[in-house]
């Protein structure tokens, strides 16, 4: 019996209660949130693999067994989520958005519960808690109407997911009589050879939920809306941490290794895994393509998140040692760089008051720390070697090539190159180019924000150069799933199957060559600094040409040629499918409502019929 596991859940709940009382005073609310995160962090530090706790709840003469069990995976997820949450709440001390601390603490409680629980009842409760707290958190963005719409959409998708999971849980309970996740997974993997269709059906029920939460194609439609219209400080948490719950859930169920049980295969993979892998690849490509054309910078990075989760799904769907390692590693890297990017965006938006890229530009002189954090962030996201994103992308490719899947790999490579493109678009439109005179008085974020940015910058470079600190715990996770983990030679190595990369040497190489570059720069002829107005204008005089920074900034329709390349694909809209479904539901519901409301006798008739069916069904059962 280890009580600190259960304290992991209760501490944030208590903190949440206090913060809810104080929430009118914003600063106190934020202080309580931050300190609760710090306390939770210490609790996480004292949590170890193998700790467990169980509790039997008596509920209407039924015993509800609740149990907690800390696995390698859960401790890893706990660490990364709580540490990131602490950084984010530290940043939120200076933040002006309408994020509510007590809701974040509720999500933290759910977060800890999801990652440690071993029973599906607790999992479901925590999932619902997390879902609703995040739905309410999405409210209160800068544009109230839009964020209400986004929250509604998100809530509907969450509900659909919850139903699906609820159905799955009770089907399993009916079959095994147990709510424990490990028991059920073991049961499923024991029958998968005999009844593959049942297993696939039941597992799909869970996976729909996870895919909705992670925002995987075709359930991604809520992602851009919710990410874009959530409060600016909440979006980092939404993207960095909350999208990983779905991945965590998938990792729980993936050990039903369909591999050796005689399931038909496609290209060396069980065909279910194969299809799932392609879903991941399509997610990556669709997210990338859609990200090209966004004008709202948060929406662009929302699509970017969606695309990166495609990478993760594609990797873990292979369920090979490299694949799972790459998937979890990419989940970590994505958490780090996307968290950093969204925090810098929150800083920029708090200073400029807009998230439209066409209205920003040239902020790098005014916000240098934010600029460099963003630069390191996009370098990581593009997978440039000395920063953190490289190792995981590279492992993903290796995992795919190992399975002889060249097409999927090429598609992922396309997504990666495309990622470089849209990241540069955001980089240019926000920080580079001409600065409008509106932003002449913009200042750098306050000191706390700068500390957070420096810290994240350092983390991205450190984990890029020393990937072993992450790959070792991932190795433990992989071996706990019954796979052979990758060999980690030392902290600097990313060990692959095709070749190794020793990251520090890249860092040193860059350091030396940059030194020589700057020596050459400083010994050659002198330069002088000029303002942005002194610019090549084909000889035209700026003042006679009515030239303003806004008109001389190129950020509108940045990738117009690409648009014409991808034009045929834009005709298909997933969103339209869901909208059509919603319209159909509304129409059907109102028709049914008509039946019930129009006539009292009719209503009574239906009630009686229903009752009779109910009684007969009960009697028959």
């Amino acid at each position: 019996m280890n009580y600190n596991v259960i304290w992991l859940v209760f501490t944030p709940l208590i903190g949440s209660a206090i913060a809810a009382i104080l929430y009118k005073v914003k600063f106190l609310d934020r202080i309580v949130t931050f300190s609760t995160f710090v306390i939770t962090l210490f609790l996480v530090f004292s949590t170890h693999v193998g700790q467990s706790y169980s509790l039997n709840l008596n509920f209407m003469n039924k015993v509800l067994p609740l149990s907690w069990n800390v696995t390698h995976l859960s401790i890893f997820m706990l660490y990364i989520s709580v540490i990131f949450g602490t950084i984010l709440t530290f940043y939120s001390l200076i933040d002006k958005s309408k994020m509510k601390g007590f809701l974040l603490l509720l999500i933290l409680a759910a977060n800890n519960w999801i990652f440690t629980t071993n029973d599906m009842i607790g999992f479901f409760f925590a999932w619902e808690l997390m879902g609703w707290a995040s739905v309410v958190s999405v409210l209160g963005g800068r544009d109230e109407k839009a964020s209400r719409h986004a929250a509604l959409y998100y809530a509907l998708m969450s509900i659909a997911g919850s139903y699906s999971m609820f159905f799955g849980i009770f089907t399993l309970w009916r079959l095994t009589g147990s709510f424990a996740i490990s028991t059920n997974v073991a049961y499923l993997s024991s029958i998968v050879g005999v009844h593959p269709w049942w297993v696939i059906g039941i597992v799909s029920l869970f996976f729909v939920t996870f895919m909705i939460k992670a925002g995987i194609f075709p359930f991604h439609t809520w992602v851009p809306m919710a990410y874009a219209w959530a409060p600016d400080t909440f979006t980092p948490f939404l993207s960095a941490v909350m999208s990983k719950y779905g991945i965590y859930g998938m990792l729980l169920f993936l050990p039903i290794s369909l591999m050796e049980k005689g399931v038909p295969t496609a290209f060396g993979l069980p065909w279910v895994n194969y299809i799932f892998m392609w879903i991941g690849v399509i997610t990556a490509v669709v997210g990338t393509v859609l990200a090209f054309f966004q004008d709202d910078v948060k929406k662009l990075f929302a699509y970017s998140s969606f695309s990166n989760l495609g990478y993760i799904v594609a990797a873990i769907a292979l369920f090979t040692p490299v694949g799972v390692t790459a998937g979890i590693y990419h989940a970590f890297n994505h958490l780090l760089f996307k968290g950093a990017l969204f925090i810098t965006l929150a800083a920029v938006i708090s200073r400029t008051g807009t998230s439209k890229m066409s209205e920003m530009g040239g902020l790098w002189r005014k916000m240098p720390v934010t600029f460099f954090t963003f630069f390191v962030g996009i370098a990581s996201a593009a997978g440039i070697p000395p920063f953190n994103g490289f190792g995981s992308k590279w492992l993903v490719y290796q995992a795919m090539i190992k399975q002889h899947l060249p097409f999927a790999t090429v598609m992922l490579f396309l997504a990666s190159t495309g990622a470089f493109m849209y990241l540069f678009k955001a980089f240019h439109s926000v920080f580079l180019g001409q600065r409008s005179h509106r932003y002449d008085n913009v200042k750098e974020v306050p000191v706390i924000g700068q500390i957070v940015e420096y810290f994240l910058m350092f983390a991205m470079i450190f984990f890029g150069l020393q990937p072993g600190y992450i790959l070792r715990p991932i190795g433990a996770i992989v071996s706990s799933m019954g796979l052979k983990p990758l060999h980690v030679m030392s902290n600097g190595y990313v060990t692959g199957m095709f070749s190794n990369v020793y990251m520090p040497i890249i860092g040193w190489s860059l350091a030396v060559s940059f030194t020589f570059g700057f020596i050459l720069f400083f010994i050659s002829a002198k330069h002088k600094y000029v303002s942005q107005e002194d610019n090549y204008t084909a000889g035209q005089l700026p003042e006679e040409w009515n030239l303003t920074p806004e008109t001389y900034q190129f950020s509108w329709k940045f990738y117009e040629p690409v648009e014409s390349v991808f034009a045929p694909f834009f005709k298909v809209k997933v969103d339209g499918f869901f909208r059509g479904l919603a319209d159909w539901t509304v129409a059907t519901s109102s028709a049914i409502k008509e039946i019930f409301v129009s006539n009292a006798q009719m209503y009574a008739f239906f009630a009686v019929v229903g009752l009779i069916i109910f009684v007969i069904a009960g009697w028959a059962a």
Binding site: I378, A382, P385, T417, G496, L510, Y536, V565
Partner: protein, 297 residues
């Protein structure tokens, strides 16, 4: 130890790649001139140009401008260090092709950051075109390198070179002919030669990314092009022409590839960007996919 080796490597290989790259550019100008029935500049013209540029005063638009242009050259040289070139192979256990490709991306990101921070829309349009074209040629190139990965069962350039040992018939150029063709076309785009030179269209967008560069900044841009030629042709030599036993043969093989690119460059006009991308996704990608299919099945 590693540090000293790197120091040596970067000074030596940096100087080598710059010298070879500039020489290639000079020879390229001469050959292009001869194709146009002109006399052409001296072969060492580009060295003169570089010297002149670095001795010329210039303007800068701020620290990001400086950093970006320096990064354009430095990151490329940092990548060249890992390339096996004949007997010069400093880090044989650390020559993953994908790593080199992604390290090259850093140079392009640096360059893009530098020229865009100048605030000139022509530069940004050029960068947007270059990135679009990059998406075009990297996809067929990725298809090719993944088929080579599967074929050679290794991703390290050192091992790929080793696997091609033992004569002309073992070269990947002969064994993977479709892949080689696709990679050749992708190389044309990578080098930014015609018909894929929309990024630096001088008449439309005032030479694109280079619009605000002058003096040493333009010098850095030129050095980046030189090292880029060296690195990209070098990768192709290691991938398809079986590497080389010493650096001279290596350079000669690089020149062969560059020569083909030059001949195409000298006689073709420019694609539109979307047509360039579509072409890349039709012909070379099809060839690459055929090659991948042959390798996998």
């Amino acid at each position: 130890m590693i540090f000293l080796k790197l120091l040596e490597g970067i000074v030596g290989i940096g100087a080598l790649s710059i010298a070879v790259g500039l020489l290639f550019m000079g020879i390229g100008r001469k050959i292009t001139a001869r194709i146009h029935r002109r006399y052409g500049p001296p072969v060492l013209q580009n060295f003169i140009d570089i010297f002149k540029l670095f001795s010329k005063s210039s303007i800068s638009h701020g620290f990001a401008f400086d950093l970006g242009l320096v990064a354009g050259v430095s990151a490329l040289i940092a990548a060249v260090v890992f390339l096996p070139m004949g007997q010069i192979n400093l880090f044989p256990h650390n020559s993953s092709l994908i790593m080199i490709l992604y390290l090259m991306t850093m140079a392009y990101l640096g360059m893009a950051m530098g020229v865009s921070s100048s605030g000139n829309p022509n530069a940004t349009i050029g960068i947007a075109r270059a990135l679009t074209m990059m998406m075009g040629y990297e996809v067929p190139f990725a298809a090719v390198i993944f088929s080579v990965y599967i074929f050679a069962k290794t991703g390290s350039l050192t091992n790929i070179v080793a696997a091609q040992g033992g004569g002309f018939l073992n070269w990947n150029m002969v064994r993977l002919p479709f892949g080689f063709l696709a990679a050749e076309i992708a190389l044309q785009g990578m080098l930014g030669e015609k018909p894929f030179d929309m990024a630096i269209a001088p008449a439309e967008i005032a030479s694109g990314p280079m619009v605000e560069l002058g003096g040493k900044y333009l010098g850095f841009g030129m050095l980046q092009h030189a090292v880029g030629i060296y690195l990209e042709t070098g990768i192709m030599v290691d991938l398809f022409l079986g590497g080389a036993s010493n650096i001279w043969i290596f350079v000669v093989k690089q020149f062969e590839l560059f020569f083909i690119a030059l001949l195409i460059n000298a006689i073709l006009p420019r694609f539109k960007i979307e047509d360039g991308v579509k072409f890349m996704w039709k012909v070379p990608l099809l060839l690459g996919v055929i090659q991948a299919l042959i390798v996998v099945l």
